[in-house]
């Protein structure tokens, strides 16, 4: 029994330390240590360590940008994209150290350098934001207990709306009253037209659910028993639609951050080359 437990502990330790993440982390640490140590030695010898850190930073940024190219080359039989992702995250975080060892200040002087610094910071912030989204959004989506493909959301909402309208018409025909129909046209229709309460959904609020409950309760005492049954059906569909809105909100965010991160990074790269050109012409 004791030996079995020891085996499990050994296996767990092995899983923790002997995996690809640790390999990437360790190799990055070694690489950065060597670069920074060399830069430090150059500084000690009154050399220009900015050249070493600057070119290292350039290569790291190129490597980071290449990740997007690799992702588009889906059939490229070179290293799984998940490994690239891990490397991208590790290198992305460590390049902040390299950046400060190169710039040696929070905000450099000169319009070009300031623009470059701002783009670098924005790129890092959007990257970290994306990492945060990637780590939190999937779990939140799973917990909604429905699964829906983003591109299908408009058609699913349209289907839900059709179902609700059929129920409304059936209710009006059967009961010869227009109470529910009127409520739908005046109020509920707004909810079923397109995704609603997106910001609230993103921050984990329950505004959508609350709104649906409110709007269905407010009409209850005008309805007879038969109409109430139809209202229950509509309420169920509304809650389902509320979950779709939740998916729409979160899935939009998990895609949208890339529309910030990638253009900012590309702009930064352009300025990096401009910076490289200027430095090589005037400074070195």
């Amino acid at each position: 029994m004791g030996a079995k437990k020891t085996n499990i502990v050994v296996k767990k330790l092995r899983d923790i330390f002997l995996n690809i993440n640790m390999l990437f982390l360790a190799s990055t640490l070694v690489l950065y240590f060597l670069i920074l140590y060399y830069a430090y030695r150059v500084d000690l010898l009154l050399g220009r360590s900015e050249i070493i850190t600057g070119y290292s930073l350039l290569f790291v940024i190129l490597f980071l940008i290449f990740f997007n190219v690799r992702k588009r080359l889906t059939v490229l039989p070179v290293i799984k994209v998940s490994h690239w992702t891990k490397l991208h995250i590790v290198q992305g975080c460590f390049c902040i150290i390299l950046y400060f060892s190169h710039v040696k200040t929070l905000m450099p002087l000169g319009a070009n350098e300031i623009a470059l610094a701002i783009l670098f910071y924005l790129s890092v912030i959007t990257g970290l934001l994306g990492y945060f989204f990637n780590k939190t959004i999937p779990r939140r989506l799973t917990e909604s207990n429905i699964e829906i493909i983003y591109e299908k959301i408009p058609s699913v909402i349209s289907d839900v709306r059709d179902q609700v309208e059929k129920i409304i018409i059936k209710c009006a025909t059967e009961n010869n009253t227009d109470t529910l129909t009127r409520h739908y046209v005046e109020t509920l229709n707004w909810f079923f037209v397109k995704p609603r309460f997106l910001l609230n959904h993103f921050f984990g609020g329950q505004q959508g659910r609350h709104w649906v409950d409110n709007q269905t309760q407010s009409i209850q005492h005008f309805l007879n028993d038969s109409e109430k049954q139809y209202l229950i059906e509509i309420q169920k569909l509304a809650q389902y639609k509320n979950k779709i809105d939740f998916h729409y909100s979160l899935q939009s965010c998990s895609k949208a951050w890339l529309f910030l991160h990638i253009p900012i990074s590309v702009m930064m790269l352009i300025l990096v080359f401009w910076h490289l050109l200027i430095v090589n012409i005037y400074a070195i």
Binding site: K71, K80, R139, T142
Partner: protein, 570 residues
């Protein structure tokens, strides 16, 4: 007062005969043959008469010289009785894949793989259709019996092909490298594959003009049950060809002398439970519950032998509250009832079964009698018997994944696409990668049943029991010998939809074919679009394995053997 019910005749076993065109005269002629003439008809119950079996569970097929009757590697539910003519069995080596309507995809080079990015067609399901036209006979569905004579690869197996293959009376001799056996009238073949759901082990083609009685497994099972002669033929064939190997491979008998295994095989009984066509009822009802008729042995009863699983799946369950709790499921190589028998032998007190065994679809078993085990096995039993009932100590919540996997029959999958939704950012890079690897056409949908955070996506699972392969008229859908993947040869698929309709998981899609310019390909017979079956092929022609797995940025997608996965999770 409304009438709230409608009436119909109670469905009967032979409501759907194997062949509607089978006539009483044909049955009469069959009954005069020695194979059926000697059968004691009185032993058959009146509801399952021999005449009924011949009329409803059999059909007569006619083959021209060279027509393939059975393909090596195919799965099928029928046995065959040669009525007239001669057939040839190619024992070894097997015929080339191309002759059997199959293909082995070559891996693309690095450059070819990269160039897919810009070479992929902008049109859905576009193909180079020129390769179809030398097989117009197959494309138009005029002849679904493939022949070894009229393929463009026939010269691979013959020294010299006759010029006019339509008028030949007997197939010329194959090249010397092929070992063959010729069977004459009265020969029975294909019965082992039909009853035990193993793949066919040889290709058989018509040597001369032949008439063959095809008997579907239900009929064969009844004839074997009520006629000792047929039973002996089938059982002897099974014992000689399959049983000894099955026993030798079973972990229970590991390390035992081959002579002992031979003795065990002599006394063992093989039985089939459930229905091979489980996918039909599963498709209709998606019924996860086990009915009484599926039960093989019940908890609390006594057993007279150990049940070895030789095919299919069995559910081991224990009664809990008002339902049955699935403790585990058994598949080929597993056994049931050992603990109780061993304890009985050891203590001298008869122990009843602590769990029940039911079929999940069908179950092919070998029953090794208790007295044989006591005599030869128990005294030297080396394996530590694991009590299935002990699994019941686990909490009910721990086994929800197992219940779910068994209920949905995901246990059948060897390469199931499992997506961890807690990691998946829904970016669809997997779908894009699949599409890029298949000329712009994704071969799966990122949708499916979800359990907890695990989704089984609608992608071919490359099943242990590939029901999709049963009934393919051209052998286009087949199992790849190298890695066990179930793949479709686009060139020989005739678009009959048999595989797509059979797949219980709806993972095969029928698609309209277009040429390179995006024009829909129509049949010259009726102007209907030419359809082909498509599914995940595990990226057979791509370096590095399935593109979906390689493209996932968060390691959320994996291909798993559900057996390992469920047990690891448990």
């Amino acid at each position: 007062m409304f009438n709230t019910s409608v009436t119909m005749d109670r469905p009967q076993r032979w409501d759907s005969p194997f062949d509607h065109n089978m006539t009483d005269a044909q049955v009469e002629l069959l009954l005069q043959r020695p194979e059926f003439n000697l059968i004691d008809k009185s032993r058959f119950p009146s509801s399952i008469s021999l005449e009924g079996i011949l009329k409803n569970d059999c059909r007569i097929n006619r083959y021209k010289p060279g027509d393939i009757i059975v393909r090596d590697g195919d799965y099928g539910n029928s046995a065959f009785l040669l009525l007239k003519g001669k057939v040839t069995v190619v024992t070894r080596p097997g015929l080339p894949l191309e002759i059997l309507g199959r293909t082995r995809k070559k891996k693309k080079s690095f450059w070819q793989q990269i160039s897919q990015i810009w070479k992929n067609s902008p049109y859905p399901e576009a193909r180079n259709i020129s390769r179809y036209f030398d097989k117009t006979q197959i494309m138009n569905g005029l002849n679904t019996n493939s022949s070894i004579l009229n393929t463009k690869y026939s010269n691979l197996i013959f020294n010299e092909l006759p010029k006019n293959i339509d008028s030949i009376e007997s197939v010329p001799k194959l090249k010397e490298v092929y070992e063959t056996v010729t069977l004459g009238s009265g020969a029975i073949f294909g019965e082992i594959a039909a009853l035990s759901r193993v793949s066919r082990t040889a290709t058989i083609f018509a040597q001369t003009e032949s008439q063959v009685l095809e008997i579907r497994w239900q009929g064969l099972r009844e004839i074997r049950k009520y006629d000792d002669r047929w039973k002996k033929i089938i059982d002897d064939n099974f014992r000689n060809n399959l049983l000894k190997d099955t026993l030798l491979e079973n972990k229970l008998f590991k390390g035992f002398d081959e002579k002992i295994i031979e003795k065990i095989s002599k006394y063992s009984l093989f039985e089939t439970y459930g229905t091979f066509e489980w996918h039909h009822s599963f498709n209709k009802s998606n019924d996860n519950e086990t009915s009484e008729k599926d039960r093989i042995v019940q908890e609390g009863h006594y057993t007279d032998g150990v049940i070895l699983i030789a095919g299919g799946f069995g559910r081991v369950s224990k009664k809990i509250g008002n339902g049955e709790r699935t403790l585990t499921y058994l598949r080929v190589g597993d056994y049931f009832g050992l603990d109780e028998l061993y304890t009985t032998w050891k203590t001298g007190h008869e122990i009843p079964l602590e769990t029940s065994l039911t079929t999940l679809g069908y179950l092919h078993t070998i029953r090794v009698p208790a007295h044989i085990l006591e005599q030869y096995i128990f005294p030297d039993l080396k394996i530590k018997s694991s009590r299935l009932s002990d699994i019941a100590e686990r909490s009910l919540a721990e086994d929800t994944l197992l219940e779910w996997a068994v209920g949905h029959r995901y246990i059948n999958g060897t390469q199931t696409m499992l997506i961890n939704l807690d990691k998946c950012v829904r970016c669809d890079d997997c779908v894009r990668a699949c599409s890029d690897a298949h000329n712009g056409n994704p071969r799966f949908i990122r949708e499916g049943y979800v359990h907890g955070a695990q989704m089984v996506a609608n992608s071919c699972m490359h099943c242990i029991d590939p029901v999709c392969m049963i009934g393919c008229p051209t052998g286009a859908i087949h199992r790849n010998h190298d890695d066990g993947a179930v793949v479709i040869n686009d060139d020989t698929c005739i678009g009959c939809s048999t595989c797509a309709n059979s797949c219980p998981y709806k993972n095969i899609k029928m698609v309209q074919i277009r040429d390179d310019n995006g024009r829909v390909l129509l049949s010259s017979n009726n102007n209907q679009p030419i359809m082909k079956a498509t599914k995940c092929d595990l990226c057979q022609d791509q370096m590095g394995g399935p593109a979906c797995v390689r493209a996932c940025p968060h390691d959320a997608l994996e291909r798993v053997d559900f057996h390992n996965y469920v047990h690891w999770e448990s």
